[in-house]
């Protein structure tokens, strides 16, 4: 049983995606439901987990009804959360709200003006990941405050927000980290006073390989690529994405990619020779 706060299976926290399958441009809801149905996995979506006890999880649905699911074994992924850090300036004044959003993530060069879902734009997303007040503070990956979710937010009548947070997976996190690190080096070395490289999630892609059986000859994985992570309906009016770079498929080849990435990234983490040429 799969329990998720997604509005539908395949939302993936990024308002879903479209992929080419069998001559059709298909929505990721169809893709994900097909994989789940094939593997006999049931799903409960639009659910907010309220409480977990031994052998039992309680959740609220979008209609504010409460339900229970029993389990022998459960894997729970808690929602993203910022750190409860406080910030003070040199005179001891509390500047927490200047640096951090109420969610605990660091404010960067995003457009945080509250606006309805229909008015969200790719341009709201930060490019330099730099705090607007303190130019020597940056936040990448999970640490920066997104301007809003990517998926359409939904609330139950009880006012419980039931929506996935924007994914900041390994590839985008590391891409942002590299751009920011290189900008900081330039700023320290006096090459530039301001960051010159950008790494907006609305201008970068991501690849995600989810293993569905790890044997080297009989295993499979679902490989998904998406460009850009944050849909840009101004550039790509149909689906918000470049369909030549947005795809999904299941197969052994994808599982081999999972194996390859596993070894490459561990090699890179150990800083072995030529580690820096291995991409993020």
């Amino acid at each position: 049983m799969w329990i998720s706060n997604e509005q539908f299976l395949g939302d993936l926290g990024m308002g879903a995606m479209h992929l080419e399958q069998g001559g059709y441009t298909m929505h990721s809801k169809s893709f994900a439901e097909s994989i789940f149905a094939e593997r006999d996995i049931r799903w409960i979506v639009g659910a907010h987990v309220k409480q977990v006890e031994a052998g039992k999880v309680e959740y609220e649905l979008l209609d504010s009804t409460f339900h229970e699911q029993s389990f022998d074994f459960a894997m729970l992924i808690p929602p993203f959360a910022g750190q409860e850090m406080k910030a003070f300036d040199a005179s001891g004044e509390d500047i927490t709200s200047t640096i951090f959003a109420p969610s605990g993530y660091m404010k960067v060069d995003a457009d945080y003006t509250p606006k309805p879902y229909a008015e969200w734009s790719a341009d709201d997303w930060p490019k330099k990941l730099q705090n607007p007040t303190y130019s020597n503070m940056f936040a990448v990956g999970i640490a920066f405050a997104p301007p809003h979710q990517i998926s359409q937010p939904r609330k139950s009548p009880n006012d419980t927000l039931i929506t996935p947070a924007p994914p900041r997976t390994g590839m985008p996190s590391a891409t942002m980290a590299r751009a920011v690190a290189e900008n900081i080096v330039d700023m320290i070395n006096g090459v530039s006073d301001t960051p010159t490289r950008t790494a907006s999630m609305a201008q970068m892609g991501a690849a995600c390989i989810a293993s569905t059986g790890k044997d080297f000859f009989t295993g499979t994985a679902a490989a998904m690529t998406v460009y850009p992570v944050v849909p840009d309906y101004a550039k790509f009016p149909d689906t918000g994405r470049d369909q030549s770079l947005t795809s999904g498929e299941v197969g052994l080849g994808a599982q081999w990619i999972k194996h390859t990435l596993h070894h490459l990234f561990i090699y890179k983490a150990k800083l072995k020779p030529f580690w820096s040429v291995i991409p993020e």
Binding site: S30, E38, R42, W43, G219
Partner: protein, 55 residues
């Protein structure tokens, strides 16, 4: 077959009744080596193109 002999989620109007399910040929291709070698190469190429766009 009586409906109560079918797993609950696969009965008509239940969630697993609707999604597309792969046929035997598609399942065979998922692990068919020559095709998967091509897919491995194609996926690698796609990821390289993604990297070039985003970096």
């Amino acid at each position: 077959m009586m409906q109560d002999q079918i797993p609950e989620n696969k009965r008509p109007y239940e969630q697993a009744y609707f999604p597309a399910k792969p046929n035997k040929f598609v399942l065979f291709m998922h692990t068919f080596l020559p095709w998967q070698i091509i897919r491995f190469a194609a996926l690698n190429l796609k990821i390289v193109r993604l990297l070039m766009k985003g970096h």
